[in-house]
Symmetry: C2
Subunit: 201 residues, 2 copies
């Protein structure tokens, strides 16, 4: 019997999602699991929950910026708060989804490249041309991707993906589901690890 | 030079505050610090932030109940979700404040007794008589405490305490401030420990 994959949900505007993206593959490999990467949009989810992005909430916002930087230092992760933060991530998420559908072997590398550009390189990945350029650097044909991102099909596909995430009660980033057990936050990786190791928590 | 105390803010309705309350003293002692215990009310703070209690937020609420129980197991902490949850905690917080003012040596024991009653004994500590009974069990004269809790002075004192907490940007439970560095959540104890150990993080 093969173990079920780890479903890893993230928004490209989420620093904690970025931190988690740097650890999830190793953790999965260590316990013989595959990772299903799901780039989603939290905007519509937050709207449904009547909540605001973390950094926009009074008091919590200022604390969060501090906690994000401190958490990066604590885990020795390269991080720079981008000048534009938070950002809209629909172009990035659609591009990832298209690459997953049409050039799957490039998808994980593309995700890492986008996150690194944004959270270490201060590159605003809300911009369509920037997303296409980053895709180009890892071998995705720019004209094909641009055409796809201008079409309706990929927009509908991402909407369906976000709806499917919500149907699984996903409401944050990172959000991990494995063997039916949900984990919200990079700070739950210690508990996630116990589940992967022991088969229960 | 003596090290500054650890300011430990909590709401009696907060399970993560309860978990943290069981660890903060040992951690402080290990690094030669005192703990200033601050029983506060998050209700007015959440109102100001335009947010709802965790367990009342769609999606997040159901997840949180699961995460709370799982976190208790992970840290091997006795925990039972109370039938009445969350609850109003102004009687408990005022009683603690009064004990801190008038019978200080009993205060920490009283805090632990209230938290244990609520989160292991399923005892609804929103009830004034229950708070007074628990105080009585650790040697606080019931009639004196009841008279104090019926007066205006203690109500004003708690209001001031909550306002002072907000002035220090406290917005959650547990919330720890040490040497000017804020930590929100029991899941930041690993980072808190580094600050106490190294003097920086």
């Amino acid at each position: 019997m093969t173990s079920a994959p780890i479903d890893f949900y993230f928004d490209f505007s989420s620093p904690y999602g970025y931190f988690a993206s740097l650890h999830i593959d190793k953790l999965a490999q260590q316990y013989g699991r595959q990772v299903n990467w799901h780039a989603i949009l939290l905007g519509p989810v937050f709207k449904m929950m009547h909540i605001s992005p973390l950094v926009d909430v009074p008091l919590k916002g200022a604390y969060s910026r501090r906690d994000i930087a401190r958490t990066a230092r604590f885990h020795q992760i390269a991080y720079r708060e981008p000048d534009a933060f938070p950002i809209a991530t629909h172009h990035a998420a659609r591009a990832v989804l298209w690459v997953q559908q049409h050039a799957a072997s490039h998808a994980v590398g593309f995700i890492h490249a986008l996150y690194a550009a944004y959270f270490t390189g201060n590159i605003d990945i809300s911009d369509l041309d920037t997303v296409i350029r980053i895709a180009g650097e890892i071998g995705i044909a720019s004209s094909t991707l641009r055409e796809a991102l201008n079409g309706e099909a990929i927009k509908d596909a991402l909407k369906e993906k976000v709806a499917a995430a919500v149907a699984h009660n996903v409401f944050g980033s990172p959000f991990i589901i494995v063997d039916g057990e949900p984990f919200w936050g990079f700070d739950r990786f210690d508990q996630l690890k116990v589940l992967l190791r022991d088969g229960r928590i």
